[in-house]
């Protein structure tokens, strides 16, 4: 999407899908969770925060990451579940910092408790990772004025690709929409700043789509 000859390129809308892989790492209690969190590849941590958005499930989740869900429902530790649930990956510069935050939370809880809780053997935490495949679509966005309608009609997986996955691809951790709008000059700075203020973590993809479309419509009107 880089501008060529001074002219912004058309925004090519992509779609994506994930396929999950086992890492072979599992945890049945907090000590094991701590040990595996320290050792597992950061791609697995990413998956258990963001990848769940593309996995089968219903929009309503008690917590927004797999770690908090497991701690709550399999270790029956609501205290740690809440502490893990409030961790927002957007607040951390990179996945290593996020890993450190997770480990600190688990370590603190281990210091507080004298009894180690165990999950059932068939309810262990399974560390997974994913591969993403990116598809072409016939759709594109010619100019910023088309953004509200285009976002409103995007699939949730397209939205994931352009607004969440983009942060791993685009320099400075920005999303595809902001990166594209930057090519159009400073007149769109208010919209760029507004998009930067949207935290995708504490919402569903469906709600996020609605919110982004409304934001774009509001700023561009």
């Amino acid at each position: 999407m880089n501008a060529t000859d001074g002219q912004p390129e058309v925004f090519a809308i992509r779609d994506c899908a994930m396929v999950a892989l086992a890492t072979g790492r599992r945890a049945q209690n907090l000590k094991e969770l701590r040990a595996e969190l320290q050792a597992v590849d950061t791609s697995s941590i990413y998956f258990h925060f963001w990848g769940v958005l593309l996995q089968p499930g219903f929009e309503e989740r008690e917590y927004n990451n797999d770690f908090a869900e497991w701690v709550r429902h399999q270790l029956h530790d609501p205290v740690l579940a809440e502490r893990l649930g409030v961790i927002d990956p957007s607040d951390y510069g990179d996945l290593e910092q996020l890993r450190a935050e997770l480990c600190d939370a688990v370590e603190t809880r281990l210091d507080e408790r004298e009894i180690i809780a165990w999950s059932l053997p068939d309810q262990q935490f399974e560390f997974r990772r994913s591969q993403i495949v990116v598809f072409r679509t016939p759709d594109s966005i010619a100019e910023p004025a088309d953004l509200p309608g285009a976002i409103g009609h995007m699939s949730t997986s397209s939205l994931f690709y352009h607004f969440i996955d983009a942060r791993r691809r685009v320099p400075d951790g920005t999303d595809d929409f902001r990166a594209w709008l930057c090519q159009w000059g400073e007149e769109h700075r208010p919209l760029i700043d507004a998009l930067a203020g949207v935290d995708p973590y504490f919402t569903t993809l469906v709600d996020l789509r609605q919110r982004l479309a409304a934001l774009c419509a509001d700023q561009l009107s």
Partner: protein, 413 residues
């Protein structure tokens, strides 16, 4: 079989078909061979019946081969199957010999085809030994495990593991099913074919005919479990649940319908035990259906208010998916792939005991509006996640990924 994709586009969406074509484009002409142990009966055969033609329509040179073997071989592989799911079976020397002998015979027959293939999918333990018997293979070999391997009887896993460790990748339905192996382990749940006789819409007359055929009263509620007669499906637990509910809802009817796959020697014994337990209750219908009873099963699921799948151990549980596709909430055992599909209060209920099943049956029959809402949600959930097109997409992704040197990102354009 022409224009299969056009048919799937009307159900799964045009964008789904577009994704499949994009993934398959560089794979056109690739020789792909699937090998399993039976062409009829069981979920694997059902999937392959359409998966392979779909691959062909996408331009892959795909084919499906089936093992041949004698009774001794299939007894051995049934032991393997049970043992891998945790049952403490013993594998005698005679069993091992019949396994090796049948593997060698099948390798002799299939070697040329398999060694020439670009990709080979080996389904479940029965054909697993073929890898080492094809030393001049040139393609990628993938071991597709459809069963729950989370807590195998260790001697049985020790026997099988050497045969599968050498594969280029393996596929499990759930993360908890995976065992440590020295290659990538993909997590790809199976799926249903919405266009098959098992799942397509049926005329009301055909559904009514099934009721008449089996003596089911359309005016009274029916609950159904459809599965092979297998200890892990807990048909006796279903009868126990039915009897608990019957005390409060005397007009309840139960259908237990199943059949035998050609590789399942224990089915007859289990069937007899179920019949003995059902006794003379005229409202319990125990049906031993031939392997090709797809439309009949379809009709039974559609005529039921609730479908049960009270498994004690389950690989994935495609009968759950089928029922959900037909807008029936499912009361399922809290195990295996049922956990991925049955979400309490959304698509059904997960239970651990006959008492739990009875409780949920009574609850749903008492709240028909909730029963209907959950059925609608269940169908949407299957459309989004468990149709054959999704599984095919993931198999194609796996094939592309193996050629992508393990990269986490595959860009198609």
């Amino acid at each position: 079989m022409a224009n299969l994709m056009a048919e799937y586009a009307t159900i799964a969406g045009a964008d789904v078909v577009s994704h499949l074509r994009q993934l398959a484009e560089p794979l056109k002409g690739a020789k792909v061979v699937h090998v399993n142990s039976t062409r009829s009966g069981g979920g694997v055969a059902e999937i392959l019946h359409k998966l392979v033609p779909l691959m062909v329509e996408l331009g892959l040179d795909a084919r499906w081969e089936v093992l041949t073997g004698n009774d001794a071989f299939f007894r051995c592989t049934k032991h393997l199957h049970n043992g891998l799911q945790g049952y403490p079976v013993a594998l005698e020397d005679a069993d091992r010999q019949s396994f090796h002998a049948a593997s060698a015979e099948n390798a002799e027959r299939l070697r040329a085809l398999l060694e020439e293939a670009d990709v080979v999918f080996i389904h479940d333990p029965q054909p697993a030994a073929l890898l080492d018997l094809c030393p001049n293979r040139r393609g990628r070999w993938i071991w597709r495990c459809h069963i729950d391997l989370s807590h195998p009887h260790r001697p049985i896993w020790r026997f099988l593991r050497p045969f599968v460790a050498g594969y280029d990748a393996s596929v499990f339905s759930l993360a908890s099913f995976a065992q440590p192996l020295p290659h990538p382990q993909y997590l790809i749940p199976p799926s249903i074919d919405p266009l098959s006789d098992k799942n397509l819409e049926l005329p009301e007359a055909e559904i009514a005919a099934a009721r008449t055929r089996f003596g089911i009263d359309p005016e009274r509620p029916l609950i159904t479990q459809i599965s092979r007669f297998d200890r892990f499906k807990d048909p006796l637990g279903v009868i126990a649940a039915y009897r608990l509910v019957k005390r409060f809802l005397p007009n309840l009817q139960l259908v237990l319908a199943g059949g035998s796959a050609s590789d399942d020697p224990e089915g007859a014994a289990m069937l007899q035990e179920v019949r003995d337990t059902a006794g003379a209750d005229p409202d319990i219908h125990v049906l031993d259906l031939p392997p090709d009873s797809h439309r009949c099963i379809n009709a039974l699921q559609r005529t039921s208010r609730i479908v049960l799948q009270k498994s004690l151990r389950e690989g994935f549980g495609l009968t759950v998916t089928e029922a959900m596709w037909k807008q029936r909430p499912v009361i399922g055992g809290d195990t295996g792939g049922i956990r991925l599909q049955v979400v309490n209060y959304h698509t059904g209920f997960r239970v651990s005991t006959p008492e739990g099943a009875a409780l949920r049956i009574r609850y749903l029959l008492h709240h028909p509006e909730l029963l209907e809402a959950m059925g609608t949600k269940a169908q949407a959930y299957v459309r989004e996640n468990f149709l054959l097109t999704r599984q095919l997409r993931e198999y194609l992704t796996l094939m592309r990924a193996l050629d992508n040197h393990g990269s986490d990102r595959i860009e198609l354009g």
